[in-house]
């Protein structure tokens, strides 16, 4: 089966790092350990049989009430093999950090800033970890489930 090539390769190479896998609706998904994310991403990009050269999307989901609370989600695409894979990493609220993948895919830069901005998950070794869509001085992270939808904050002027 073509669909599970990626997951098999990952399980071979990183047997201890894969927490869970599934292929719901045909989307290959692997939940991996937080410590190994950069090594796994570098492997997915470089391995001759995988070559995931596109990082299409990077986002997070807030599973409020579960532990670990956050989940950072990577969507990768391999141009050569025309395959997609989803990598997920759980991040606890108490230690809201994960390694940046900017060294692997430069386009992760703005995506990671967006996750930091809207969810408050920080990325280690990111070249410029600051807000991107909201302004400096905005309090809180609006896409967290416990951020009230009707909350208003005064729009402040630029900070120079």
């Amino acid at each position: 089966m073509n669909a599970s090539v990626t997951l098999n390769r990952l399980a071979e190479r990183f047997p201890g790092s894969i927490i869970d896998t599934h292929s719901h609706r045909g989307d290959d998904t692997a939940v991996v350990k937080r410590e190994d994310i950069r090594a796994i991403c570098a492997f997915l990009r470089e391995d001759e049989g995988l070559l995931y050269n596109f990082m299409m999307d990077l986002t997070a989901v807030d599973y409020l009430g579960q532990e670990p609370r956050f989940e950072v989600v990577y969507h990768l695409y391999s141009l050569k093999y025309n395959r997609r894979v989803r990598i997920k990493v759980r991040v606890p609220e108490s230690d809201c950090f994960i390694d940046s993948v900017v060294p692997v895919w430069p386009c992760a830069n703005w995506f990671e800033r967006e996750v930091f901005d809207l969810y408050g998950v920080s990325f280690n070794d990111h070249p410029e970890m600051r807000r991107i869509l909201l302004y400096e001085g905005f309090e809180g992270h609006p896409l967290r489930k416990d951020y009230p939808i009707k909350k208003r904050q005064p729009l402040i002027g630029p900070i120079n």
Partner: protein, 396 residues
């Protein structure tokens, strides 16, 4: 010579372009550090059009997201509608009727034509080619007339539904489309003559913002900007959705990725999209446009008014929302600017738990500083046009 330079005042100058500036189509700010007219550094500040798209989606029902998607890429809203509906259908695990698929393809391609026409028109205008702008705005107006005929609105279309469409093609749509395309092709030729061999235009766009293919991939380029770099990646070909696998069309690619290649790729794609629409109209099958599953797509108003079960389903889907099974999907379509992806997470309730859009112009805008370093300040104008940043989509 060194003596002269020593006495010159050669400090770098930092200037702000935007957030409201004729060059910045969207509302965006460039912080440009200049050495004379040469750009030493360029920082892009986005977020001026951030409206909290995801937060709004998470607090409405699955169907209520569709009008919000119109406002993502507001130059080609139908593609956003289709992309979102396809993602939800994938999440539920349903397939829409054949006729619906064809009409969706027609809607998508009309949108793509309008998108590329707008982009090339604005690009010409900014470099002084006002005639080309007027010609293509006329063409876009004609395409918008078709879209208005289809769904009653020109920009805020709100046409596609989960499991179907708002309405079928109106009477006389096919003939009108063919008439419009005759005129659009004439206008396309005129603009082609005005720009493609125009010395002034070429001098401003050729060899500006050149990018090697591997770097474009690493920066997350997709769509016309990636294809201009010579990578033939098009979601419609790579992972065909709807009925694109039955359509005969070419994917134009460029060579160096400079602004001239981006322009040429878009020009060719306008023609290819017209071919797709004509083929889809020729092959259009008859039959229903909505899926026959009242728990996901309500039935006709006649049924709702006369049958109790239809009325109950209608009430339940409107008040509670449709309920996709728990799970997560990612689905990508080829938007006007590149891969438009939707990542949806359902927890089994009537509201999306997570509704993420992968905006194609987000990584493209991020690459502006890479493209512009070492170039002249005047090169920002054509480059930013060809990047085609759409504020609604980039900032969400």
């Amino acid at each position: 010579m060194p003596d002269i330079e020593k006495d010159l005042h050669t400090e770098h100058m930092v200037i702000n372009m935007g957030p409201s500036h004729p060059v910045t189509h969207g509302t965006v700010k460039f912080l440009v550090t200049l050495d004379g007219e040469t750009i030493v550094d360029l920082k892009v500040e986005i977020g001026y059009l951030h409206r909290g798209f995801e937060k709004m989606c998470e607090n409405g029902t699955w169907q209520q997201v569709i009008p919000y998607t119109d406002r993502l890429n507001y130059v080609s809203p139908l593609i956003n509608n289709v992309g979102y509906a396809l993602a939800v259908e994938k999440l539920i695990g349903i397939d829409v009727p054949e006729r619906c698929k064809y009409i969706r393809v027609i809607a998508c391609e009309l949108s793509r034509i309008a998108d590329h026409l707008t982009n090339v028109a604005a690009g010409g205008l900014e470099l002084g080619a006002f005639t080309a702008f007027l010609y293509f705005v006329e063409a876009r107006e004609l395409v918008w007339d078709l879209i208005e005929m289809l769904c009653g609105a020109r920009v805020t279309t709100n046409y596609v539904r989960i499991g179907g469409l708002k309405n079928d093609l109106p009477e006389g749509f096919s003939e009108k489309t063919r008439d419009v395309f005759k005129r659009v092709r004439v206008l396309w030729k005129d603009v082609d003559h005005l720009l493609t061999k125009n010395r002034v235009f070429i001098d401003r766009v050729r060899d500006v913002a050149v990018l090697p293919a591997d770097e474009a991939i690493a920066l997350g380029f997709t769509g016309p900007c990636l294809r201009a770099c010579g990578v033939p990646y098009d979601v419609r070909k790579a992972q065909p959705y709807l009925v694109y696998d039955r359509m005969d069309f070419e994917v134009p690619i460029g060579d160096t990725g400079d602004n001239f290649d981006k322009y040429l790729v878009r020009m060719e794609e306008i023609l290819q999209s017209m071919r797709i629409v004509e083929q889809a109209l020729d092959q259009l099958p008859s039959g229903p446009i909505n899926i026959d599953m009242p728990q996901y797509r309500w039935q006709s108003k006649d049924d709702i008014g006369s049958r109790i079960d239809s009325l109950i389903f209608h009430f339940k889907t409107v008040i509670d929302g449709i309920k996709p099974p728990p799970g997560e999907v990612y689905l990508a379509v080829e938007g006007g600017n590149g891969e438009l992806g939707f990542y949806l997470v359902s927890d089994g309730t009537g509201k999306p738990y997570k509704c993420r859009v992968r905006p194609p112009s987000f990584p493209l805008t991020a690459a502006m500083s890479r493209l512009m370093k070492g170039r002249l300040i005047a090169d920002i104008v054509p480059t930013f046009d060809m990047i085609n940043m759409i504020g609604g989509e980039c900032d969400r």
